[in-house]
Amino acid sequence: MASKSAPPGTRSVARSKSLLARWAVALAAVALSGTAMAAEWNLQPPVTPIAADIHKVHEYVMLLVTVIFVGVFSFMFWSIFAHRKSKGHKAAQFHENVTVEILWTVIPAIILVAIVVPVTKVVIAQKDTSNPDLTIQATGYQWKWGYQYLKGEGAGIDFLSTLATPQQQIDGQAPKDKHYLLEVDHPLVVPVGKKVRIITTAADVIHSWWVPAFGVKQDAIPGILRDTWFKADKTGTYRGQCAELCGKNHGFMPIVVKVVTEPQYAAWVANQEKHKSEAADINTGAPK
Amino acid sequence: MSRNAKTGLILATIALVFFLGIIAKFWLIGP
């Protein structure tokens, strides 16, 4: 479909550009309205030193990456603007430049080193589960979590933690409450400011124990024990979800952790009856 | 055997060895 008068493609380009402008305005309107509606943009506010480190790493890398991206694509967009055939620009024929090629191999390598060196410290810190104040085992089941307090204050406490959101809310027959899909009958309770070691395992398939505010995610693997740790700096209730596909109700087995003051924790421990582990009854009692 | 056939046979052998090798290694020696 050749244009008769204008150079090939320019008329449709011009039309496309004004159309693009109209679409951009529409899109901006949608995006801005989204902002007004309490949309989330970043990682959840950190409540542990590790989570705070993760925020810093992410911000650092995002800054670097944005600078590089804008830099490189400024060249591309300049080219699109200035090196057009329709502007009469004639093509140069160069196709190599050793200096430039060495530079853009070596400089990215240096930038990568500048990234991984500070990050290495955080990786090592995340793995250091030594000398915990409290050790709790989190066992993934289809589809709930089981918590057993193994060592430290509260050892012997043992219970299941199941989604508490009523089915009517999921089916749309009742209005959804604020913590829809993020509430359980028996949350994990831990004291503030103490190093808590979480040992993960599973009874059936692979699950994953994840609390974004803590910066902690650890796969729970049947027949194997893994571990991770956190030290919460602030009291409060923190919520996460299972992070490994584990069957039909993978989306319906959240993790809720209540971080309380030490006196509150002692009182909670004292109130727990050391009841028999529900895990023994799991096969008969588990919802199908 | 043509040159093409020789090349093809070598490549097919690589594929077969990888396939049988992975299974054999974990079957005989474990994870």
């Binding site: 959840q44 490189v72 057009r84 992070a243 | 093409n4 990888f18």
Partner: protein, 533 residues
């Protein structure tokens, strides 16, 4: 290069079919050993699979429009996510690039056809059979598997019969890819025209040569993983069962040893297409041809030592996490070199912006964004937060849709004239591009925020704070899906009633199919090798 036109075998009368192997109609397509016919079959098959997988995506996104379960139940939702992934990866995007390989490699190296023309026929015809098995699994008792395209054990051991259908389909798909790769390597190594040294080959052929080696090495490993799943399911083995002395995480190691090279298997041919399109529309040679060859080779080799960056949360020792983090970040270097070389190709060129070039530029911009989100994910501490969230979903859709799919669109618009002798409608092509760009970003850019905010993958329902981005994403999905119907219309309209293409529709295109063959290319080309300078 002297432009000696090869008119052997060209139909002088429209509709003369006695050159098509003697058959006409359906039998022609079933029995063809012609690389052009087989390329066409792969491309149409891949487009059909793209629509099937896309429909599943629309069902997924419909359910995710609002919190709550409105349309499907959780089991079916996970059947959809699983099959969407398997169909798009193995049924759509990989066969599309094999279609390009079949059409272009013989023409670009001056060969009459592929090395194993009859095996080529089988490589294709296995695919509809395998795809049917995948789709059929939905109708088995228990439905399709609900395990994600990654099919982790031991979840796979719990699945019904649909899992076995899928395993069989994966075996067939793998065999098709391996046979295709053997064909491609043998053709490129042994059948180049005299004077076409490896370092004079079009970049598209180089990327396919390297990709084919990746396939030969990686596909059998996937076959091993799913076979071991099959025997754990039915023959009493315990490869992935801790109680029997095995290890569930072993499956992940084996799968991702395939899985990481797999993403480069998808990306490298896409890079190859871009390396043909950008120089053509810049009227300038590809910048740094040798570096591109070395960078592509480096990416391919590195792709074998990074697999466990998909497994940072499985509990590997810290030294393992560090090794895989360092190795993964290394891949950014050769990938960056390629991006810089493409931009340098455009720099001081004489640019025009027909549809292939628009898609190539869109690729460059958006694939690089996907690469950067990959860099973010490669860092262990951040990955701990983002693993199994929508951030990962955003990342791989940027590189595979805005990357590989846009590159495929660029290639189709670029080569349609050579294949059909007709020009596509440039205005409609531009509409396809801009609508795809806008809707693609609407779907997936906001998913980065969902992942950061804490939304896991593979869930049919979600907490309330994720609603806004999910709604925007779903609206984008419907827009994107409808736009691809426009593409179908454009292609069909071109074939049926497109304007006749000139002999050289693209001024700056300089590979053999453009310089030494008429437009459209004859059914048999280069039955005698071209004379090259």
């Amino acid at each position: 290069m002297s432009a000696v036109l090869d008119t052997h075998g060209q139909a002088h009368e429209h509709g003369h079919h006695d050159q098509h192997g003697g058959y006409s109609g359906i039998m022609r397509w079933i029995t063809t050993t012609n690389h052009k016919d087989i390329g066409t079959l792969y491309l149409w098959f891949s487009f059909i699979m793209f629509l099937v997988g896309g429909t599943m995506a629309l069902l997924i996104r419909s359910e995710l429009f609002e919190p709550g379960l409105q349309i499907v139940n959780p089991e079916f939702f996970n059947q959809l996510t699983t099959m969407h992934g398997l169909i798009m990866v193995f049924g759509a995007i990989m066969p599309a690039f094999v279609g390009f390989a079949n059409w272009l490699i013989p023409m670009q190296i001056g060969a009459p056809d592929m090395a194993f023309a009859r095996m080529n026929n089988w490589s294709f015809w296995i695919l509809p059979f395998a795809a049917s098995l995948l789709v059929l699994s939905f109708f088995m008792p228990g439905g399709a598997p609900e395990v994600g395209w990654t099919m982790y054990a031991p979840l796979t051991v719990q699945q019904g019969m649909g899992m076995d259908f899928t395993i069989f389909a994966v075996h067939l798909l793998g065999m098709s890819s391996i046979m295709g790769s053997i064909n491609i390597i043998t053709t490129i190594l042994n059948m180049r025209a005299p004077g076409m040294t490896l370092m004079k080959m079009p970049m598209f052929c180089w990327t396919w040569l390297i990709t084919a080696y990746l396939l030969v090495a990686a596909m059998p490993v996937l076959a091993g993983a799913v076979t071991m799943t099959l025997t754990d399911r039915h023959f009493g083995t315990s490869f992935f069962n801790a109680a029997g002395g095995g290890d569930p995480v072993l499956y992940q190691h084996i799968f991702w040893f395939f899985g990481h090279p797999e993403v480069y298997i998808i990306a490298l041919p896409a890079f190859g297409v871009i390396s043909q399109v950008i120089p053509a529309f810049s009227r300038k040679p590809l910048f740094g041809y040798a570096s591109m060859v070395y960078a592509t080779s480096a990416i391919a080799i590195l792709s074998f030592i990074v697999w466990a960056h998909h497994m940072y949360t499985t509990g590997m020792p810290v030294t393992g996490q560090l090794f895989f983090m360092y190795a993964t970040t290394l891949i950014a270097i050769p990938t960056g070199v390629k991006v810089f070389n493409w931009v340098a190709t455009m720099w001081k060129g004489s640019l025009t912006f027909e549809t292939p070039m628009l898609f190539a530029i869109g690729f460059l911009f958006l694939f690089t964004m996907g690469g950067f989100s990959g860099l973010v994910l490669s860092l262990v501490p951040v990955d701990i937060q983002l693993q199994d969230t929508y951030y990962v979903v955003a990342h791989f859709h940027y590189v595979m849709v805005a990357g590989a799919l846009f590159s495929a669109f660029a290639g189709i618009y670029f080569w349609l004239p050579k294949w059909t002798g007709k020009m596509y409608d440039e205005t409609l092509g531009k509409w396809h591009f801009w609508l795809s760009m806008i809707f693609f970003n609407m779907i997936f850019f906001v998913q980065h925020f969902l992942g950061l905010a804490g939304m896991p993958r593979r869930i049919p329902d979600y907490p309330l704070q994720f609603e806004t981005w999910n709604q925007i994403s779903t609206v984008g999905a419907f827009g994107f899906g409808l736009t691809q119907l426009l593409f179908l219309y454009i292609v069909i309209k071109t074939i049926r009633s497109g304007e006749k293409a000139p002999e050289k529709p693209w001024e700056g295109a300089d590979s053999l199919e453009w310089t030494h063959l008429p437009t459209p290319a004859p059914y048999h080309s280069f039955e005698t090798p071209p004379v090259l300078k």
